[in-house]
Amino acid sequence: MSALLASSLPRQDGPAKVTGAARYAADHFAEDMLYGVVVGAPAPAGRLRGVDAAAALEVPGVTHVLTHEQMPKLGAPPVPPASSVRVPLQDDEIRYEGEPIAIVLAETLEAAEYAASLVEADVESGPFTPHPHGDRADAEVPRESGYLSGATDAEHGDVAQALAAAPVHHEATYVQPSRHHNPMEPSATLAEWRDGTLTMVDATQWAYGVRAVMCAVFGIAPERVRVRSPHTGGAFGCKGLVWPHQIIAAAAAQVAGRPVRIALTRAQMYSIVPYQPQMVQTVTLAASDDGRLVAIEHESINLTSVSDDFVEYATMASQTTYAASAIRVRQRVQRANVNLGTAMRAPLEGCGLWALGSAVNELAAQLQIDPVELRLANYADVHPFTGQPWSSKKLRECYEQGAQAFGWRRRPSEPERDGRWLVGQGMADCAMGTIRFASTAQVRLHADGRAVIRSGTQDIGTGIATILTQLVCGVLGFEPGVVSCEIGDTELPEAGPTFGSSSTMGVGAAVMAAAQDALAKLRERSAQELSDAPGAGALTAAMRSAGIDELIGVGSFTPQDSPYAMNTFGAIFLEIGFDPELGIVRLRRAVGRYSVGRIVNPRTATSQMLGGIVWGWGKATMEASRQDERLGRWLSKNLAGVALPVNADIPSNIDVAFIDEVDEYASPIGGKGLGELGATGVDAAVADAVFHATGRRIRELPITPDKLV
């Protein structure tokens, strides 16, 4: 392996991204292209009696107004990769406000937008179930609609008996609101049919998933669909599955016989694409007097739509984090006339640790035990629920190094004052499951000394092209300048989705194997003894001597069942300032230490962790998407009415680092995923810091001034 592994190679797509040369979906054009603007339902439930498109069609430049009556009948796609069993523009039913009821096509964007405002929908409004209020009302057992990836109810040990016998208890309910992903790039799709073949340029985390859905809805073979996704402008989960606009763009292009480009408005990013649904979590802890947990009970209820039961497995946190001998978890859903939610940075433990981490911090306060000590007393040396050994886990080191860097042991029992600010400190666990997807890749060697990586994975900003380049350089001994990377296209070898912090393991392992395969083939065909990482000079000499112009190495990664449980771990320590007069909470500094296996690129990895901590801060103190319960619609569908962290909210004093570690079992890379881990635990740490500063426990996010003054 060359020194390039674990080097901080700058982002390979950096020059393209700082010059505007990097093209995202809405930056693409097609000859004779029409602009499409989606018209959404004005009511959350009911029936569409009809659509008066006369005025819209009179606008110069408008070519079509398409409703369910003009759309082709489409097939039922699999969920996932489709987000919903409900295919858009197929019937007159309305199940949520903003649900697409028509699309306007026009020669110019201005004409399409203006005409969309003239489309008159005649709606027979029906009764609707509004967004729930943060209580348990009408919670139901989820049905299978493609989202049941695990049991809804599970128990390890005898929770009832442990609860009854334990001397110490803590029970509380923790609420996190619905909140949107708000990537900077609104979802966009350019769809074009030519000779029965559909080509799409799409903002997606899963180009092959888009292809599978298009094959199903149009009843065509995979070779008749090509999906390109050169760059995706942030996603965080909302571009993981296929949402209505992608299907509408392809269908509208088919009807019009011309390419159609749809770029959702920011408002439509609230009502057509998903969000992380509200969760109401109740955690019951039972412990001995010295703080050893004997039972954890965890129920999580998440909002879902009336059409599909999306389940966010927040209770996963209670199965993986602390070594309690009895654990019981329960997942429920509350259905409402809302658009469907989905996974968002960070799902699973990212949701569940808000409740569990807060509960453990409250137990620590109740028992007057330091939160780090309480965690060490309940350290899970094996997977608490299954008893499996971990593939690797260096959480003790995270606690130790994080506490030291932060100065945790010097945490004063009473908050200190800094001018008008009361200073509070808190900590919590970070954790995330390890999700692995199958991937394939090619590495093509050229006799002129270049290598080309080919993989159908997606760039969503994690730095995948840079990491793949490093891996190939490591195997071949190349310099990065001669390695290029082709990604984001279903013409390239199939790769898994870019979500679940999975790409370095899956795509990275496939690319590394492809480079090794290329090297092995060259050894065989040239009959030369090439060393490991032989370098471009030796490789090209061998290729020329064997008369080879181009050599294709292929590689794949298939996750195997493992006797080991795989997770990533970490500890976050942070300090807030609280202004008692205004109720404002500000982040002053943070320290994160993480156990994620081998780090391929410390620079991009650090950026992901910093971003995750900012995400956690936004969740803890700012972000919430509210519904107007009378109208059944999102209250603010814009970036002005929904608070998000901006530069002035974030201090520079955020210190993140990784424990030196190699996970030999998760993937041949030695590393695991880390895109989501940084966003976990921050909420519980902030709530504990707020308690430290104010003496008040806030159990409903976000922790805004109105809850503190």
């Binding site: 950096g14 010059t19 505007g20 040369a21 990537p183 900077m184 620079r603 970036l639 530069n647």
Partner: protein, 168 residues
């Protein structure tokens, strides 16, 4: 002063990235952002919200940073526009662009054209003398990947490089 004239379409002449562009019969509703993106195919400036809330469309208009989505193209007639595509010269990246790469000040890259232009203006306005000031004056540009600390570092480094240019 002549009386204002109302028209559905306007003829425009403006200098974009140093080149005079003449555009005839542009719909009067077209924003500067859409003019750049849809008519000139300069897609560097991005449409993140179309409401002046995110800063992804930031461009320089007569040297000042503006949200391209909040300016009508007609209002840019006769003026000078610089987009992210116009910053590099002779194949050399601008100091701000180099600093963004060096400090890893972006991830997905979608907000980056606006951040880079905003940073150029932030420095020329004299708002890049200390970290706290940079954070405040770069807050019109949202980065959802949240590379904020790295953006501050990049702006600081680029400002320092401009004040102390390397010896030639």
């Amino acid at each position: 002063m002549s009386a204002p004239q109302f028209a559905d379409h306007v003829d425009l002449r403006l200098r974009v990235n140093g080149v005079v562009r003449a555009l005839d019969r542009i719909d009067a509703r077209v924003s500067l952002l859409d003019l750049l993106r849809e008519h000139l195919e300069l897609t560097g400036a991005k449409k993140g919200c179309n409401h002046g809330e995110c800063g992804a469309c930031t461009v320089l208009l007569d040297g000042h940073r503006v949200n391209g989505c909040m300016v009508l193209a007609a209002a840019a007639d006769g003026r000078e526009v610089v987009t992210v595509e116009g910053l590099a010269s002779d194949g050399q990246l601008h100091a701000v662009q180099r600093a963004f790469i060096e400090h890893d000040a972006f991830q997905c890259g979608f907000c980056t054209p606006g951040q880079v232009i905003s940073a150029v203006a932030c420095i020329s306005e004299g708002h890049a003398t200390e970290e706290r000031e940079i954070r405040e004056w770069m807050s019109g540009n949202i980065c959802r990947c949240s590379s904020y600390p790295q953006i501050v570092e990049a702006v600081k480094a680029a400002a320092a490089a401009e004040n102390n240019p390397p010896p030639r």
